[in-house]
C-alpha cells in the first residue's frame, strides 16, 4: 500500500510544485529555461501586445474602421492617420487594429477546440486499445486523407451563407485539424498504459476516467502542450489564407487576410503600403508564435536537445 502510494505521488515527469527542495520538474525546468532566452521574451511581448489589441482595439485607436469618407481616398499617412486611408477613405490604422481580432480569436479558439477534441479522442484510443483504437485510427486516416486546406475550402464554400462570425472558420479548421493532437496523445497513452503507476492506480480501484485524466494525462500532456504556440501560429496563417480567398469573415468585418486580398490591385497603382502594412502585422503574429513555439518545444522535449 505504501509502495503504490509513493509511486503514485512521484510519477516520472509530474509537475513538481516549487517546494523547499531544489529539484525542478519538467514544467518549472522548461519555464526557467525559457525565461533566459531573449527570443522568447521578445516574441512573448509581441504576442501579448497583439492579444491586447485584439481584446481592446479601442485602447489603441479612437477611430472607427467603418467610418469611411470617399473624399479622403488614398490619403497619405499623417499625424492624424498614421497609415493613411484606403481607396474608400477608411482610416487604415484603425482597420489594421480592428483586423487583429479575427486572426487572434480564430488562432486561439481553433487551437483550443482541435486540441481538446484531439486529446479526448486520442486518449480514449490509446487507453482502451483494441477495436476502439482500430476504429479511431481508421477514422484519423480518413480525415488525414483529405488535404487540410482543401477540406477547409470545401466546408467554407458550402457553409458560406452562415454570415459574419468566426464559427464556420473554427468549424472548418477543427474538422480537419483534430487528428494531429489525437495521434500524439494516442501514442503517449499507449506508452503510459503499461507503466507501474497506472497499474498501481488501477489496483487501488480508480475508475477508467480517473486513471485517464488524473493520472496519465498530466504525464502525457507535455508533447501536446509543447505544440500549442506552433498550432496557434499555423491557424492564424490558415485563417489569413482562407480570408484571402474570400472564405473568411464577410465584408463589414475587417481581417488582415481580406485587407491584403482587397489591396492586391493597389500595389501597382502606387499604393503598396495598403498591402505591406497588414502583411507586416500578420507576419509579426505568425513569426512570433513560430519562434516562441520552437523554443517551447525545445524546452519541453528534452529528447531534441
Amino acid at each position: 500500500m505504501s509502495d503504490t502510494q509513493t509511486i503514485e505521488a512521484t510519477p516520472p515527469t509530474a509537475p513538481v510544485k516549487a517546494g523547499p527542495e531544489k529539484v525542478r520538474g519538467l514544467w518549472s525546468d522548461a519555464f526557467h529555461d525559457l525565461r533566459k532566452r531573449p527570443q522568447v521574451l521578445v516574441c512573448s511581448a509581441v504576442i501579448l501586445l497583439l492579444i491586447l489589441i485584439a481584446a481592446f482595439p479601442s485602447l489603441f485607436t479612437g477611430k472607427d474602421p467603418r467610418d469611411c469618407q470617399l473624399e479622403r481616398f488614398f490619403g497619405a499617412p499623417s499625424a492624424d492617420a498614421w497609415f493613411g486611408y484606403d481607396q474608400y477613405g477608411c482610416d487604415y490604422f484603425a482597420m489594421t487594429i480592428y483586423g487583429a481580432r479575427p486572426s487572434i480569436v480564430v488562432g486561439l479558439l481553433a487551437t483550443a477546440t482541435t486540441f481538446i477534441l484531439g486529446a479526448v479522442i486520442g486518449s480514449i484510443a490509446g487507453y482502451f486499445g483494441g477495436w476502439v483504437d482500430a476504429v479511431i485510427s481508421r477514422t484519423i486516416d480518413v480525415f488525414n486523407s483529405i488535404p487540410f486546406v482543401l477540406g477547409a475550402i470545401l466546408i467554407l464554400a458550402i457553409w458560406r451563407s452562415a454570415g459574419d462570425t468566426v464559427w464556420p472558420l473554427i468549424l472548418a479548421l477543427t474538422v480537419f485539424g483534430w487528428t494531429g493532437g489525437a495521434r500524439i496523445l494516442r501514442g503517449s497513452f499507449i506508452e503510459a498504459r503499461g507503466l507501474d503507476y497506472v497499474k498501481a492506480a488501477k489496483s487501488l480501484g480508480a475508475s477508467d476516467s480517473r486513471v485517464m485524466f488524473r493520472h496519465i494525462f498530466p504525464n502525457a500532456m507535455a508533447p501536446i502542450v509543447s505544440l500549442v504556440p506552433l498550432a496557434i501560429g499555423a491557424y492564424i496563417e490558415a485563417e489569413a489564407s482562407l480570408s484571402f480567398l474570400g472564405l473568411g469573415l464577410k465584408p463589414p468585418a475587417v481581417t488582415w487576410g481580406s485587407m491584403i486580398s482587397n489591396n492586391v490591385p493597389e500595389v501597382l497603382a502606387g499604393h503598396p503600403r495598403l498591402l505591406i502594412i497588414p502583411a507586416l502585422f500578420l507576419l509579426s503574429a505568425t513569426i512570433s508564435f513560430a519562434l516562441l513555439g520552437d523554443a517551447v518545444r525545445d524546452a519541453l522535449d528534452p529528447k531534441l536537445k
Binding site: V142, S145, I153, I158, E237, L245, A290
Partner: protein, 335 residues
C-alpha cells in the same frame, strides 16, 4: 509481400469510400441546415421561379427528400453520387460544362508546378539540411535553423505576392528593359504564367509554393543526418580510411534520405492546398486555379467535384508510394 499488397489495396478502397462519404456528409449537412443551394445559382439579385428552381435542383441532384432532414446521412443519395463518380461524372460548373473535362485539361500545368515544387524540396531541403548537420552548432547551422522557422511561418499567399511583385515586376522589368523580352531570364521572371512558355514561367511560383514544405524537410534532413553521422556503420567507413566525401555521400546521405522521402510524400497533401493560392495568383491554368476561380465565383458544385476528384487521386498516389516502398526497401516488414 503478396498479402501486404492485397491488404493495402483493400484498405485504400475503404479509405477512398469513407473519405468520399465524409465529403458527401458535410455537403448534405450544409444543405440540410442552410437550405436549397439552387438559389446560389441565380445569385442574390434574381428571384427564380419554382420551375427554374426545380430544373436546377434536378441538374445538381439537390432535389432528394433526405436533404430536408437534418442529420440524415442520405445513403441512397451517396450511392447515386458514387455511381456518377465511377462513370467519370464529377458534376458540372454553373455553365453546364463537365468538371472532369476541365480537370483533365488542367492537370499537365499542375504537374509542372509540382515538379518544380518537388525539385525545390529535394535540392533546397536536402542540401540545406545536410549543410546544417555537417556544420552543426556553427553559424550556418543557426542561420539555417532560424531561416526555416521564419520561412515556415510566412503564409504561402504572401510569399507568392512578394515574389510576383519583387521578382516578376521589379527584377523582371529591369531584365526586360536590358535583355529584351525574349531572353530566357526575362521569361523566367515574368509576373504571371504564359501558355507559350509553360515550363519557364512556372519556376518562380513553383519555388514560392515549396517554401513552407522546405522548412520541415530541412529540419528532418538535419536530424536524420546527425543520427547517421554518429552511427556505427559511418564510424566503420571512416575507420576503413574512406575519404570524407565518400563517407558523407554514400554512407551517411543515402541512409538519411529514407525518412525525408517519406516526408516529401506526406507534404504533397499540404502543397495541394497551397497550389490553389499559387496557381490562382500566378494565373497558371491548373487544377488549383480552377478551385480558386470557383471559390471566387461562388461556384460550389465545382469545389465539391474537384475536391472529391483530388482526394481520390491523392489517395491512389499514396497507395502507389506505399507499394513502391514495400518493393524498394526490403527492411520494411508488415505484420
Amino acid at each position: 509481400m503478396g498479402r501486404y499488397v492485397i491488404r493495402r489495396l483493400l484498405q485504400a478502397v475503404l479509405t477512398i469510400f469513407l473519405a468520399l462519404f465524409l465529403l458527401h456528409y458535410l455537403t448534405s449537412l450544409s444543405i440540410q441546415i442552410n437550405g436549397n443551394p439552387a438559389y446560389a445559382f441565380f445569385g442574390g439579385q434574381i428571384t427564380p421561379t419554382q420551375e427554374q428552381l426545380r430544373v436546377v435542383a434536378e441538374r445538381y441532384h439537390t432535389d432528394h427528400p433526405c436533404l430536408k432532414r437534418v442529420g440524415d446521412p442520405c445513403l441512397s443519395n451517396f450511392m447515386d453520387t458514387l455511381g456518377r463518380y465511377a462513370n467519370g461524372d464529377f458534376g458540372q460548373d454553373l455553365r453546364f460544362r463537365p468538371v472532369s473535362d476541365q480537370v483533365v485539361m488542367r492537370v499537365p500545368n499542375t504537374l509542372r508546378v509540382f515538379a518544380i515544387n518537388i525539385a525545390t524540396w529535394a535540392i533546397a531541403g536536402i542540401g540545406l539540411g545536410m549543410l546544417a548537420a555537417v556544420r552543426r552548432e556553427k553559424f550556418s547551422d543557426y542561420l539555417i535553423r532560424a531561416g526555416t522557422i521564419i520561412s515556415g511561418a510566412v503564409p504561402t499567399f504572401l510569399f507568392v505576392l512578394a515574389l510576383k511583385y519583387l521578382a516578376g515586376v521589379w527584377i523582371g522589368g529591369w531584365l526586360r528593359d536590358h535583355l529584351g523580352d525574349d531572353n530566357v531570364l526575362s521569361i523566367i521572371f515574368r509576373p504571371s504564367w504564359d501558355e507559350a512558355h509553360p515550363w519557364l514561367t512556372v519556376i518562380l511560383p513553383g519555388i514560392a509554393l515549396a517554401v513552407i514544405g522546405t522548412a520541415g524537410i530541412t529540419r528532418l534532413m538535419r536530424t536524420s543526418m546527425l543520427e547517421n553521422i554518429r552511427s556505427d556503420h559511418v564510424r566503420t567507413a571512416k575507420a576503413k580510411g574512406l575519404t570524407g566525401g565518400r563517407v558523407l555521400l554514400a554512407h551517411t546521405l543515402r541512409n538519411s534520405l529514407i525518412p525525408v522521402v517519406t516526408l516529401i510524400g506526406l507534404s504533397l497533401g499540404g502543397a495541394l492546398g497551397g497550389a490553389v493560392i499559387t496557381e490562382g495568383l500566378w494565373n497558371i491554368r491548373g487544377v488549383g486555379q480552377f478551385v480558386f476561380n470557383a471559390v471566387r465565383q461562388n461556384d460550389t458544385p465545382i469545389v465539391v467535384g474537384v475536391v472529391s476528384l483530388v482526394v481520390i487521386c491523392y489517395l491512389l498516389f499514396s497507395l502507389l508510394i506505399d507499394l513502391l516502398y514495400a518493393v524498394l526497401d526490403p527492411r520494411i516488414r508488415y505484420e
